[in-house]
């Protein structure tokens, strides 16, 4: 609850401060960790903290003792080759998987198993790798449904359209119209989500996740499967989201190129273990990352696994 209570204005200032700090650091060519930058802004509690998360499926280890701290207002990428455990990690954070060991801290609450049904109320929203839109609903209704956890009026009140039900409907509609305008979806808002092009559907899913102004946004491969033009557009939307709403963003990506320019910090997973965690520059020059992710170039091989 305390997560939701943080006002958008504070977060915005925070994000700006953090950006300025990051910029200054970049000029000095020695970027400090973003977590410290956030500390400078006066927010010592990470939005998301993972403590020793381990998960296995029938003997196959998916995650092995993952620690991760995501500071308020940062864009944090998690990258790694196929099967490195990225999606599993996101599913642990959103409570779809229960970790064998470890705790997930969301704001001030710690969970051994994050309660998925309370996720939205905790200020966390997510998107899915292969799109999880409600295909039979128009875009606007998809986005309005992203607001559902704030609604209190029961079904009888909704049928009778009591003042409370009407007010809630108007609120969620207004918030949805805002986000739809923000993500340039006005032209398609009355169309069924299922019939739209893939790239547009990705934006609709982003809108649905954003409408309730989450404190923490989890994006599962937001840039996968779209054209190059759409990729740049979506990346711009993601960084605009952080700038405008102060949302903390954790995104999983396969495509290392886009992530470098977009994120403040990058964590790298390989075979379920975290092998690096730092600024894009640090990660780029990390020997373990180059070996695991970019291919073992120093042994004379030039193959890049991207």
């Amino acid at each position: 609850m305390s997560l939701v209570a943080t006002s958008g204005g504070d977060a915005l200032v925070l994000a700006r401060t953090h950006e300025r700090a990051a910029e200054a650091a970049r000029e000095a060519e020695a970027a400090p960790p973003a977590a410290e930058a956030a500390l400078v802004g006066g927010a010592p509690v990470p939005v998301l903290q993972l403590e020793g998360i381990s998960l296995s499926f029938g003997g196959i280890t998916a995650l092995d003792g993952i620690d991760l701290a995501v500071a308020n207002g940062e864009i944090r990428a998690i990258i790694g080759p196929n099967g490195a455990g990225k999606s599993s990690l996101l599913n642990v954070v959103s409570g779809l998987y229960r970790p064998d060991r470890g705790m997930v801290r969301l704001g001030s609450e710690r969970f051994a198993h994050v309660p998925t049904s309370r996720l939205a109320a905790l200020g966390v929203a997510r998107t899915f790798q292969n799109l999880a839109l409600f295909k039979g609903l128009p875009v606007l209704d998809n986005v309005i449904t992203g607001f559902v956890h704030r609604r209190r009026a029961g079904f009888v009140r909704q049928i009778l359209s009591t003042p409370q039900a009407r007010r809630e409907e108007a609120e969620s509609r207004a918030a949805s119209e805002d986000v739809i305008a923000f993500l340039h979806l006005d032209a398609v808002k009355h169309q069924l989500a299922g019939g739209l092009p893939y790239g547009v559907q990705k934006r609709v899913e982003l809108a649905r996740a954003l409408v309730a102004r989450p404190q923490l946004l989890l994006l599962d491969e937001p840039l996968a499967g779209v054209t190059l033009g759409e990729k740049q557009e979506l990346a711009a939307h993601i960084s605009n989201t952080r700038d405008a709403y102060g949302t903390t963003i954790v995104l999983i990506e396969h495509d290392i190129g886009v992530v470098m320019g977009l994120s403040d910090r990058i964590a790298v997973l390989d075979y379920g273990r975290k092998i690096a965690d730092g600024t894009p520059d640090e990660v780029r020059s990390d020997q373990a990352v180059i070996d695991a992710y970019l291919g073992v170039a120093h042994e004379g091989e030039t193959e890049l696994v991207v």
Binding site: F57, S87, N91, L96, F128, Q129
Partner: protein, 296 residues
């Protein structure tokens, strides 16, 4: 005092009729495993087979000739269904396919009765239904015969799945349709084979059930006996169909004899469902179902 002899008699009777449930359930599993379709028309196919056979026999066709003719008709029916119903609906949701088989069951039931009439036919397989005694327990000779036939067929299918090339193809398709396609298995051919097999199962089950209940419309309702078996054993498990059938058969008989009087009888109509559902609520993956990790 508790009458153990009577209890065993009821239990054995239940298990024997359970084998016949297993037989019907296997027809479902064959199709479900390979194409993800819950074929509600299995009952209608059973009725169609029994009605065709009995009508041929009544018209003076010799037993074995009638049997072969019905077999041929069932194979043709199976292949036709694959061609005209399943192939156009490939890639549709399992529920759409299920509804299509509901429609199919209406067509087959209607056609069977339009062709052969709606009157009840007696079917005599030449087995006397005389009970004989084993260690003080009375066992119906017909039940034993039916169970033996059903058991043989079930075993044959189980072995077929495990040891033949076609069986291997079946299992490959059941495991992963796309991978099976990629390695060059021709799905339509596998499906046609499966529907043929289901047709044979329907014929055998139809004859056995028909001999017991009389060949009439209600025969197609045997399908409703198989559904709790499938819920209990899992829609995709041959072993589940066998064990589930035996369990349901036994529980149904025992419940009717020992619990039924408390309710004034007739609980056979739903006892199996309640048992299967109760079990499922405790163990959602069923008797032998694998617990699949949901991919998100």
């Amino acid at each position: 005092m508790f009458d153990y002899q009577f209890f065993i008699e009821v239990l054995v009777g239940g298990l024997l009729s359970g084998v016949m449930y297993s037989l019907v359930a296997i027809g479902f599993v064959l199709i479900y495993k390979t194409s993800g379709v819950l074929n509600f028309a299995q009952g209608a196919m059973l009725l169609f087979a029994a009605l065709t056979f009995v009508s041929l026999v009544e018209r003076g066709v010799p037993f074995w000739l009638a049997l072969s003719a019905t077999l041929v008709i069932m194979v043709v029916l199976g292949i036709t269904v694959e061609r005209t119903v399943l192939r156009p609906l490939v890639n549709q949701s399992p529920m759409t396919l299920f509804m299509a088989t509901l429609g199919l069951s209406y067509i087959i039931e209607g056609a069977a009765q339009l062709l052969w009439g709606t009157q009840v036919h007696g079917l005599d397989l030449g087995i006397d239904d005389v009970p004989f005694e084993v260690g003080g327990v009375l066992i119906s000779q017909f039940d034993l015969f039916a169970a033996a036939i059903a058991g043989t067929l079930v075993t044959t299918f189980a072995l077929f799945f495990r040891y033949t090339r076609t069986g291997l193809a079946f299992r490959a398709v059941a495991d992963d349709q796309f991978a099976a396609l990629a390695v060059g298995l021709r799905l339509p051919r596998v499906w046609a084979a499966v529907w043929t097999a289901a047709g044979i199962v329907a014929l055998v089950a139809g004859l056995l059930w028909g001999a017991r209940l009389g060949v009439q419309f209600s025969l197609s309702l045997v399908v409703l006996k198989a559904l709790p078996v499938l819920v209990l054993g899992g829609f995709d498990s041959v072993a589940g169909a066998i064990v589930g059938g035996l369990l349901i058969g036994a529980i149904e008989k025992l419940a009717e004899v020992y619990v039924g009087p408390l309710f004034g009888g007739g609980i056979v109509a739903w006892a199996a469902y309640v048992v299967a559902l109760g079990f499922l609520l405790v163990r959602p993956s069923g008797l032998f179902g694998q617990k699949l990790v949901e991919r998100v």
